[in-house]
């Protein structure tokens, strides 16, 4: 992917104000649009995940550090926050609940200072493997030390403690959501600001060419280390918020699964763009909470989506968006609409065919107790009927055929548009 943009930090940029304003607005009104209790928790979790994924991307996207163990920092942040919460509940300490995520942040920071020192000595594969090792160690310890980690049951707490301000007790999920939203906004802004600081830029330089960095006066190890600490801080904040959100912290929060999810979804969202991880985080929550409820085959879908994304859009969703933004900036997006529409329609048809077959297979294997009939896309399918299978196959085949046709048409138009843009650019350059 060659179209990587750069973020010049130009203050007083109108576009920027609009984007940040819109971001704040989305955070503000989302729970009003989606108001069921599940969606409120999901929104809360998205806010938390956004901070975590952005923190992770400080390493991966901006610093070129592939970590397999970043959950250690968010997780330990969670544990210290919940312990603090319990101390406050027991009256051993005075601290408003709204500041507790900072405790998590400090914990993440402290552990990053400690463990990051050895981790960031190296880059590349050794870095990746050290994080893997440390992650496994912390995870194994978490089950062995029930005193701190609470064993299998974890540590529970009650966020309704101390005296609330103006009736804000953080008991109702919605109040907590707004706390998370505020943290999410502030952390996003801070992390974005970081990309425009000398250290942030040097981190990019270290990613691209650590050797040269040494010859322009910087110690690469130090650059990585400081970035790691900052990333640990933000990860810790997200952990702290998670502790308040769930009011229980168990060993899984430091586990490899969590770390792996950060990696996968940051990548899926797009590690090369600042906002990529935000998309990734939203998808992560949707995938884990909703997708697994919608279908038993969610892991299969997830795996396939990953493989396709890595193959066809290695820059993640963010890069797809930016490619279209570029086209739009030249005023040519309208021309692509029909092609997009065809592409989407045929893709849906193809997916419907494939998904119905997958769902039927899973139904046969898992839900036979409910009889051979299953509901899918509003239809009742008889999983034992030859006709159903035949139908699904036909839909799939037609879908594939049409999709291929639409894809070719689209590719052609897309190329044309790109060529025209190139042409325009060259003309502009020549002027």
């Amino acid at each position: 992917m060659s179209n990587v943009t750069n973020f010049h930090f130009k203050p007083y940029n109108v576009g920027r104000w609009i984007i940040w304003g819109a971001y704040a607005l989305v955070l503000l009104i989302a729970p009003l649009l989606f108001s069921s209790s599940l969606s409120t928790t999901m929104l809360s979790q998205m806010g938390i995940a956004i901070i975590a994924c952005l923190a992770y991307n400080m390493l991966l996207g901006q610093g070129g550090m592939l970590s397999f163990g970043h959950a250690v920092y968010s997780g330990l942040g969670s544990f210290l926050t919940i312990h603090t919460l319990n101390m406050v509940s027991n009256g051993e300490l005075q601290l408003p609940v709204s500041l507790m995520p900072l405790v998590g942040g400090l914990a993440g920071l402290a552990f990053a200072v400690l463990l990051g020192y050895v981790t960031t000595k190296k880059a590349g594969t050794p870095f990746a493997m050290i994080t893997l090792g440390i992650g496994e160690l912390v995870w194994a310890m978490s089950l062995m030390f029930p005193e701190f980690f609470g064993g299998e049951g974890g540590i529970t707490g009650n966020r309704v403690t101390g005296k609330g301000w103006f009736g804000i007790s953080f008991g109702p999920q919605i109040q907590l959501y707004y706390l998370i939203a505020v943290y999410c906004f502030v952390c996003t802004a801070l992390m974005f600001a970081f990309t425009g600081t000398p250290l942030g830029r040097m981190l990019n330089a270290v990613r691209d060419n650590p050797e040269r960095v040494e010859f322009i006066g910087y110690n690469t190890q130090r650059v990585r280390y400081i970035a790691f600490i900052l990333s640990g801080f933000f990860a810790g904040i997200s952990g702290g918020l998670a502790a308040l959100n769930f009011e229980i912290v168990t060993a899984e929060v430091v586990g490899a699964g969590r770390s792996g999810a950060y990696l996968l979804f940051v990548f899926l969202g797009g590690a090369t763009f600042f906002f990529g991880p935000i998309i990734g985080a939203v998808l992560m929550v949707i995938a884990f909470v909703l997708l697994s409820e919608l279908t038993k085959a969610w892991l299969l879908y997830l795996g396939l989506v990953f493989m396709f994304m890595v193959m066809f859009a290695p820059g993640g969703i963010a890069s797809l968006i930016m490619m279209n933004v570029r086209v739009a900036a030249y005023g040519k997006l309208r021309r692509l609409w029909p092609a997009y529409a065809k592409l989407a329609a045929t893709a849906l048809l193809m997916l419907a065919g494939a998904a119905s077959m997958i769902e039927m297979v899973y139904h046969l294997q898992l839900n036979e107790a409910l009889g051979p009939e299953m509901r899918f896309l509003g239809l009742t399918l008889n999983t034992k009927g030859v006709g159903t299978w035949l139908g699904a196959t036909v839909v799939l085949a037609i879908g594939v055929g049409l999709f291929e046709w639409a894809r070719r048409r689209f590719a052609q138009e897309w190329n044309e548009v790109q060529e025209e843009i190139e042409h325009l650019n060259r003309r502009r350059e020549a002027l």
């Binding site: 750069n6 203050p11 830029r201 691209d208 060419n209 010859f215 322009i216």
Partner: protein, 256 residues
């Protein structure tokens, strides 16, 4: 007076093979020195030793009178020594401007700060703009380094080297791979941007050597066998034997 750069009996061995065998060199401030020598004589290695990329086996290296051997590259750089590479060594996913700006940050004292915005660092931005203009890449200011042509990359390579404001500059084959016409333009560029600085450069093109250098050092098998004014070096029998003494070199030199 103290020399800008001083090498005393520097030795370097890789495994059993000794590549630099007691090199001595004293460069006065403001001098432009070209280092020539057969392939594999150790010219690039010498640059690597001076700039701290490799440690020396014995001897000492002084920069403006201070020992720098055993220091890390970034420490040496902070003392005012900058170098370029034989193969372009850029930050390929950053734009031309960002490449240069990265290179000026340390010297302006911004170090590892993450509480200031680059956009507000007027001195750094100004300096970076200046350098971009100097290396004549202002029209490519926002192009990613990896999308530049070869010659532009070489120019950027020089830009990064000089941007930090170091006053001792090492350039390793800056014109390699360029055609005659481009080479000419480039020599001019180097002259401009290194005005008033101490310059060491490695070159095989005698045109460049004679066009650029006040003094020439000849490195053969890890030893400096001659260090003198160009004419004197050209007349030196040992140098002719070891290195020059060919039609090609004569022609190139004549063309300069």
């Amino acid at each position: 007076m103290s020399f800008a750069l001083e090498l005393n009996n520097v030795r370097k061995a890789f495994g059993k093979t000794e590549i630099i065998r007691g090199a001595n060199l004293k460069v006065a401030p403001g001098e432009r020195v070209a280092i020539i020598g057969p392939n594999g004589a150790g010219k690039s290695t010498l640059f690597n030793l001076i700039s701290g990329r490799f440690g020396i086996s014995s001897g000492e290296i002084l920069l403006k009178g201070k020992r720098i051997d055993g220091r890390t590259p970034y420490e040496i750089n902070r003392q005012g020594l900058a170098r370029s590479f034989q193969v372009s060594n850029l930050f390929h996913r950053l734009s031309v401007f960002e490449n240069i700006r990265c290179a000026v940050l340390w010297s302006l004292g911004y170090r590892y700060s993450f509480w200031k915005f680059l956009g507000n660092l007027d001195d750094a931005n100004e300096r970076a703009e200046q350098v971009v203009e100097m290396i004549k890449l202002d029209r490519k200011r926002d192009v990613l380094a990896m999308n530049l042509t070869y010659a532009e990359q070489r120019a950027l390579e020089i830009g990064i080297t000089i941007a930090g404001g170091g006053d001792v500059i090492l350039l390793d084959e800056p014109t390699a791979g360029m055609s005659k016409s481009e080479t000419k333009r480039f020599i001019q560029l180097i002259r401009e941007v290194t005005e008033g600085k101490t310059l060491l450069t490695v070159e095989h093109d005698m045109g460049v050597v004679f066009g650029l250098a006040d003094k020439i050092a000849v490195l053969v098998y890890g030893e400096v066998i001659a260090f003198d004014k160009p004419e004197a070096v050209r007349a030196n029998v040992r140098v002719q034997e070891a290195y020059l003494g060919s039609v090609l070199a004569e022609q190139q030199a004549a063309g300069a």
